[in-house]
Subunit: 407 residues, 2 copies
C-alpha cells in the first residue's frame, strides 16, 4: 500500500507529490518547521495526509525537546503547534492532529509523567493518528462500497486517495473496496487544475493498482454527466461543517451542482477528523487563496502573457443540499445532515443549533429542527442497511433541494 | 485591430495561435489543402475565424484553377469545398463560408461569366466574408454593450475575441464596445483547458487593448459566481440550433448552469452565420472528439502517467433555457428563442417546427408555438430599447427554466 508519510528514527519522510507522476522522490524532514514548510509547499497535500504529517511534526518537536525542563518542553510544543497549524488554513485535520498530540502531552504531564515519557507518548500518539487514519479509510471503504454498483463509472475530483491520507484513501478507498469485493469499476479523474492532482496523482495511484482510469479536463465533467456517462461522483473533503456543507478542492461545488442536475448521486468520503464541530456552516470556513503563479505557470512554463495575473482560491464550499450522502468510518450520513452529524460526532442535539434561514442550506436546517427532537428521523444509517442502489433526487417540486438551488 | 487571417497575392496568412502569447508567428498558405490542415491543427480557431479562413481557402482553389475549363474548375472547387468542410465538424461557419463562395461561383458561371471572372468573383466573395464579419462584430458590440453596466465584472470562456473572428471579436467585441463607450469593464478569463485559449489568447488580446484581465482556472468560475464577484457572463458560439441551444467550447454548459444558479445573466454573442437553420436542437449538433494527447500533454510536457489516456470532447451544448439572450449583428434575441431566431434568419414561421416534448428546451418550444402565431410576442428586441439592466431570472417556481433544469 502507498503510504505518503512515514516516521522513524531519522525523522519524517514525505513522498514529494509535486514530482509525481514522473519521479518518486522522498524528502526527509527533522523539525516541525521543515514539516510546516513542506505542507505549505504542497510536498504533501490532502487533508488527512496533512493531519498525519502535522502529527509527526509535533512528535519531532517533542523528540527534540525531550532533554528540556517541563516548561521549556511545553513552550517548544506550543511553538511547533502554532507553526504547523498556520501552514494551511482550510483543512481542519491539520489543527485537529496538532491539538491531539499537544493535548496528549498535556494530560500525560498532568498525570505526573516525566518530560521524556511525555515525549515518547507524543510519538506514539502521532503514529496512532496515522494508523487510525488507515483503519478509518478501510472502514469507510467497506461502508462506501455498498454505494458502488458493479460496473460503475465513477467520477472523482482532485486526489482523495492513498496519497491524500495515511494510506488507502477516502474517495479512492471507496473505489478500492468495491474493486476488492470483485466489482468492475472504472474511474474518470478530473485533472484538477491548477495543481493537476487528478491527472498526476489519482491517475498514478489507480494505475499502480490496476484500476482503469481516464483523465478529463475539469470542464468536461458537466458534459459527460449530461450524456449519462457517469454513475456516481465521489470526492474527499477538507472540512465539513456541522450542517453538512463541504469545503473541498476548487471545482467540487460546480461538479456537485451538475451531478444534481443530471440525477447522479454525489458522495463525500471523509473521516470524522474532517468534521469541524466548531463550524456551523460552510460560509464560516476560511478559503485559502494561494499564489497566482500556481495558475499562471505550469512546470516552470508561463501559460499567460507577461504581466497578466490569476486568481487562485484553492477550495470551494458545496452546500449540504447538493450532497447525497457522506461516507465516514462510522457509517453513512444522509440528509438531514445536522442531526446526523451531531450524532456521529457525539455532540448534544442542542449543539447542532438551528441554522439561520438565510444560510445556504435552510431546508436541511428546518428539517433538523424536527430531526433533533425525534431521534427516529436521524440520518446515520447502518451501512449494512444500504442497498447500494441510489435513487436520483426527484426532479419535480418535491425535491427539498430544488428551491434552494436557484435562490 | 488584430486580424488573425489575411489574404493577398501571396496567399493566405494565419497568425499561429498555438504560439501565442509567447510568439507572434505568421504562417503562409497557398492551397485549400494547407488551409484545411491549419484549421484542423488549430493554427486558426474560433468559429468565425475558421469561416473566414475557409472562404480564403476556396478563393485559393479558384485562383489556382482559373486557367482550367469550366468543368475542371467546378471539380476543383468541389474538391476544395469537401476538404475544407471536413477539417472540423462543430463550427457551422466553416460549411457556411465554403458554400457561400461555391454558390457565388456557380451563379456567376450560370450568368455566363468566364472561369477567370468567376475565380475573381470567388476572391471578392471571400474578402466580403471577412469584411462583413468585422462589421457584424462591430454591430454586435453596439447592441451588446447596452447589456454591460459601467463597472461590470465580466466573465468569459475560451477566446471569442479578435483572434476568433475576422477581427474585433464577438463576446470580446461586446466588451470592447462597452469600453469604447467609456465604461470601466474588468474581465475574468477562464483559462479554458485543454488548449488554454483563455489564458493565452483572451488575456493576450485584452492586455494589448489595455482592458484589465485576470485569469482563473475553469473550475473557479462557479465559486466566484457564488461569491457575487461576476456581474455577467458573455461567451461566443460555434453553432446555434433553431431552438436556441448553443454549442460552444467545452465548459460553457456548466458555466451557464452556475450563472443561472446565482442569478447572473448569461449572454451568447454570435453572428448570424453561426446559426444553423438546418439544425432543430442542440442534440443534433456533432461534437468533435479531439486527440487524448491534447489533454494529457501541455507544451510537450506529459501531465499524466505513461499509459494513461484522456477523453477530449471539444465542445458542449448549453440548452437554450440557460441562455439569457443572444447578441447578433441584427439585434438581441431573448426567449422564446425559436420564434426570435426564425425571424432573425428570415425563416418562415412554419420552418421553426415545434420541438418534440422530450427535447431539452420544451418550455421554450411550447411558448414558440404561440409566439409564431402572434408576431407581437416575438423576441427580437431593438437593442436601442434595452436598458442594459438585466434582471436575474426569477428564483421561484415561476422561472420557466427551472423545472427543466433538474429533469
Amino acid at each position: 500500500m502507498i503510504e505518503p508519510v512515514t516516521f522513524g528514527d531519522d525523522g519524517v519522510a514525505l513522498l514529494d507529490q509535486r514530482q509525481l507522476p514522473h519521479q518518486e522522490t522522498w524528502i526527509e524532514l527533522d523539525s516541525p518547521e521543515a514539516v510546516a514548510t513542506a505542507i505549505r509547499d504542497m510536498v504533501v497535500r490532502g487533508a488527512p495526509a496533512i493531519g498525519v504529517a502535522a502529527g509527526f511534526g509535533m512528535a519531532l518537536a517533542a523528540r527534540a525537546a525531550r532533554g528540556l525542563d517541563e516548561q521549556a518542553f511545553r513552550d517548544r510544543l506550543d511553538a511547533a503547534a502554532e507553526t504547523l497549524a498556520a501552514a494551511r488554513p482550510t483543512a481542519v485535520n491539520l489543527a485537529w492532529a496538532v491539538e491531539r498530540v499537544r493535548d496528549t502531552v498535556r494530560r500525560t504531564l498532568e498525570d505526573g509523567a516525566t518530560v521524556a515519557e511525555a515525549a515518547e507518548r507524543a510519538e506514539r500518539e502521532a503514529v496512532a493518528i496515522k494508523e487510525e487514519d488507515i483503519a478509518a479509510n478501510r472502514a469507510m471503504g467497506r461502508h462506501g462500497s455498498m454505494l458502488v454498483p458493479d460496473g460503475a463509472r465513477v467520477l472523482t475530483h482532485c486526489n482523495a486517495g492513498a496519497l491524500a491520507t495515511g494510506g488507502y484513501g477516502t474517495a479512492l478507498g471507496v473505489v478500492r473496496a468495491a474493486v476488492e469485493e470483485g466489482k468492475k469499476v472504472t474511474v474518470l479523474a478530473d485533472e484538477t487544475r491548477p495543481y493537476l492532482q487528478g491527472a498526476r496523482l489519482t491517475a498514478w495511484e489507480l494505475q499502480k493498482d490496476g484500476i482503469p482510469v481516464t483523465v478529463i479536463a475539469d470542464s468536461m465533467a458537466g458534459s459527460l454527466l449530461a450524456r449519462g456517462e457517469v454513475d456516481l461522483v465521489v470526492v474527499g473533503a477538507d472540512r465539513i461543517a456541522r450542517n453538512g456543507d463541504v469545503a473541498n478542492k476548487i471545482g467540487t461545488y460546480p461538479l456537485a451542482v451538475m451531478a444534481r442536475r443530471h440525477g447522479v448521486p454525489f458522495y463525500v468520503a471523509a473521516p470524522l477528523s474532517t468534521f469541524d464541530p466548531a463550524c456551523a456552516s460552510g460560509d464560516l470556513i476560511p478559503i485559502e487563496e494561494r499564489p497566482s503563479e500556481e495558475v499562471t505557470h505550469l512546470g516552470g512554463m508561463r501559460l499567460v502573457p507577461e504581466g497578466v495575473t490569476a486568481r487562485h482560491p484553492a477550495f470551494d464550499v458545496t452546500p449540504a443540499a447538493f450532497v447525497t450522502a457522506i461516507v465516514t468510518e462510522a457509517g453513512i450520513v444522509r440528509a438531514p445532515f445536522p442531526s446526523g452529524i451531531a450524532r456521529l460526532l457525539g455532540l448534544e442535539a442542542e449543539t447542532a443549533e438551528p441554522i439561520p434561514p438565510d444560510a445556504s442550506t435552510d431546508l436541511s436546517a428546518d428539517e433538523d429542527e424536527n430531526g433533533a427532537e425525534g431521534a427516529d428521523t436521524a440520518a446515520v444509517l447502518a451501512a449494512a442497511g444500504d442497498d447500494g442502489e441510489e435513487s436520483p433526487p426527484p426532479a419535480d417540486g418535491a425535491d427539498p433541494g430544488e428551491e434552494e438551488l436557484f435562490s
